[in-house]
Symmetry: C2
Subunit: 201 residues, 2 copies
Amino acid sequence: MEEVRQGADARSRLRTAAVESFAAKGFHGTTTRDIASAAGMSPAALYVHHRSKEDLLHEISRSGHERTLALVQEAVASSRDPREQLLAVVRAFVVHHAEGHTGARVVNYELAALSPAHLAEIAAIRRRIEAEMRGVVERGVAAGDFETADPRMTALALLSLGIDVARWYRDEGAWTPSRIADHYCELALRMLAADRSPGPR
Amino acid sequence: MEEVRQGADARSRLRTAAVESFAAKGFHGTTTRDIASAAGMSPAALYVHHRSKEDLLHEISRSGHERTLALVQEAVASSRDPREQLLAVVRAFVVHHAEGHTGARVVNYELAALSPAHLAEIAAIRRRIEAEMRGVVERGVAAGDFETADPRMTALALLSLGIDVARWYRDEGAWTPSRIADHYCELALRMLAADRSPGPR
C-alpha cells in the first residue's frame, strides 16, 4: 500500500511540475529533465511513470478535457429547463477556466504538440463538450426560450468566452471567478435573447 | 538602394519564418538556427538584423499590436455613432484575428517570453486597445444606446471573443471571416442590449 501511495504521489508531483513548466516555457521549450527536477526527481524516475514528455502532456490534456466534459454534463443534468442549463454550464465553465487558468492554457494551447492518435482522442472529447453546449442552445431555441440565427456559432462563442478567461485571468486581479461568472451568465442570456420579458406572442 | 531593398526583404523573410516557427513550436521550442534556416539564411546572417530571438519576438509583437490598435482606432473614427463604432470595431477585430490567426496566436500567447521592458511596452499598447473598446461601450451607455452593468468587463468580453477566434479559426473551415464577423456583430449588439427597437422613453 505504501508503494502504491508513493507511486500516486510521484505521478501527481510530475503532473503538477509538467503543467507549471509547459505553461511557463511551452511544451517544446520544456525538457523531461526540467519536469523531473521541478518534481524533485531524477530523469530516470520520471521514465518509470511516463514513456515520454508527450505522454505526460497527453495525460494532462485527457484528464483536463474529461474534467471539463464532466463539469458541463453535470451542469446540463442539473435542470430540465434550457435557460437554467445555460446558466449552469456558463457558470461552471467560466469558474473552471478562471480557477484553473494555468492548466487550462496548457490544455487549450498545446494541442498541436500531441501525437496524431492522442490529438484525435482529445478532439473527440472537445466535440462532445461542444455538442453539450450546442444541445443546450438548440433545446432552448426549440422551446422558444432562445433566439439565434446560428446555434452552432453561438454555442462556440459561448465556449470561446470561457476559454479565453484562462488567458487573461489573474489570481491577484480585482474580479473573483464568481463575479466574472455572474456577468458572463448575463451576457450569455443576452446572446440568446433570453433576458427579455416575454412579449406578445 | 538595392542593398536597402535586400535588407528589408531579409527582415521580412526572417519575420515570416519566426512567426511560423513560434506558432508551430512555441518561442522556447524554437532556435535562432530554426528561424534562419526557414528563411534560407545562415544564423550569422540573422544576427545582422536581430540581436536575439527575443528581439525578433518583440518586433513581431510590437508591429502586431500596433496594427491591431490602428485597426481599432480607424474603426472608431469611422462614425460618431457608438452603435456604428461598435459594429466597425467588432468586424475589424474579428476579421483580423481570423485572417491573421497564426500571427495573432504568437502575439497573444507568447507575451510571457518578452523581456520585462518589452512586455511593459506591449502591455501599454494592449491597454490602449482595451481603452478604445471600453470608450465605445461607455459612450454608447452615456448616449442611452447601450445598457450594461459592467462596461469594463463587457468590453473585455468583446475583445476576448475576437482574440479567441485566432485559436479556433481554420483556413479550410466552412465559415469565412466575414460570416463570423456578421454573427459576432449581432452578438455584440445583444451583449449591450442594443439590438432592440427603442421602447417608450
